[in-house]
C-alpha cells in the first residue's frame, strides 16, 4: 500500500511540503505541482531534504508547471522525474491512494 502525495504550494510560503515530508511513508511518492514545482529545481534550501526523500520513495514534478515558472532548463534535484499531464493521471491510477496536501 502506497500513497501518491501531492503538494502544490511553495514551501517558502506554506508549510504543506514540510507537513507532508514529516509523514511520508517508505515507498510513497511525492509529486510537486503548481507553485511547489519551484523547489524541484536544484539549489534551494529544500534540495537536501528532497534528495533524502528520494531515497525512500519516488519524486515527480509536473513539467508544464515547472516550465511556466522558468525552470525548464534548470537541473532538477537528484531523483526527480518530470511528468506531463498524462503521467500525472497514470501516477494517480498506479498508487493505492492520493493525498493532496492542499
Amino acid at each position: 500500500m502506497a500513497t501518491l502525495n501531492i503538494v502544490n504550494k511553495s514551501p517558502f510560503e506554506k508549510r504543506s511540503l514540510d507537513q507532508c515530508l514529516a509523514r511520508i511513508n517508505e515507498g510513497d511518492a511525492l509529486l510537486l505541482i503548481e507553485d511547489a514545482t519551484v523547489v524541484a529545481a536544484s539549489g534551494t534550501a529544500y534540495t537536501e531534504q528532497l534528495t533524502s526523500a528520494g531515497k525512500s520513495g519516488a519524486l515527480y514534478v509536473l513539467q508544464p508547471d515547472l516550465e511556466a515558472r522558468g525552470f525548464a532548463d534548470k537541473p532538477l534535484v537528484d531523483g526527480f522525474n518530470a511528468v506531463d499531464y498524462k503521467g500525472f493521471v497514470a501516477l494517480a491510477a498506479e498508487y493505492d491512494r492520493v493525498h493532496s496536501w492542499l
Binding site: 500500500m1 502506497a2 500513497t3 508549510r15 504543506s16 507537513q19 514529516a22 509523514r23 511520508i24 511513508n25 493505492d96 491512494r97 492520493v98 493525498h99 493532496s100 496536501w101 492542499l102
Partner: protein, 127 residues
C-alpha cells in the same frame, strides 16, 4: 453510484485537518463534508495534525467575530457513527497543548502511528 452504495461497498475514508479554524473556511468545509459522507455509511475517521489540532480547542467563542461556533458539532459526530477522532501528539506538543485542552474525546497518536493510519485508508481528503 446509488447502486454501489446500496451494494454495501464500504471504504475507509480519512479526513485530515491541518488548519486553524475561523481564518479560512477549510475547517468548516471539512466538517460539513464529513457529515454528508456519514450519510453514506462509510468507515470514516478524522485526523487532526499541525494547526488542525486548534479546531478541537475548548472554549472557542467565534461569536466575538460573528462566526458560527461549529466546534460544537464535533460533539454530534458520534450520532453520525463517526467515532474515530485521532490527534497527533507532536502537533499538540509543538503548540503547548495537551489532551485536556480538547473539547471531545480523541485518541492521541504518535507521528509514526499517523503515518500508519494514512497507509490504511482507501481515500484521504486533506483540508
Amino acid at each position: 453510484m446509488e447502486e454501489e452504495y446500496s451494494g454495501g461497498v464500504e471504504k475507509k475514508f480519512l479526513y485530515v485537518n491541518r488548519r486553524v479554524p475561523h481564518g479560512t473556511v477549510y475547517a468548516l468545509e471539512s466538517l460539513e463534508t464529513v457529515l454528508i459522507g456519514a450519510a453514506f455509511d462509510q468507515d470514516v475517521s478524522m485526523l487532526f495534525i499541525d494547526d488542525g489540532v486548534y479546531q478541537l480547542k475548548k472554549e472557542q467563542n467565534p461569536d466575538s467575530i460573528d462566526f458560527k461556533n461549529f466546534a460544537k458539532a464535533f460533539r454530534a459526530l458520534e450520532m453520525y457513527d463517526v467515532e474515530k477522532l485521532f490527534v497527533e501528539q507532536e502537533s499538540l506538543s509543538e503548540r503547548g497543548l495537551t489532551e485536556s485542552d480538547l473539547l471531545v474525546d480523541v485518541e492521541v497518536i504518535s507521528r509514526e502511528q499517523t503515518k500508519a493510519l494514512i497507509d490504511q485508508q482507501d481515500v484521504v481528503l486533506s483540508f
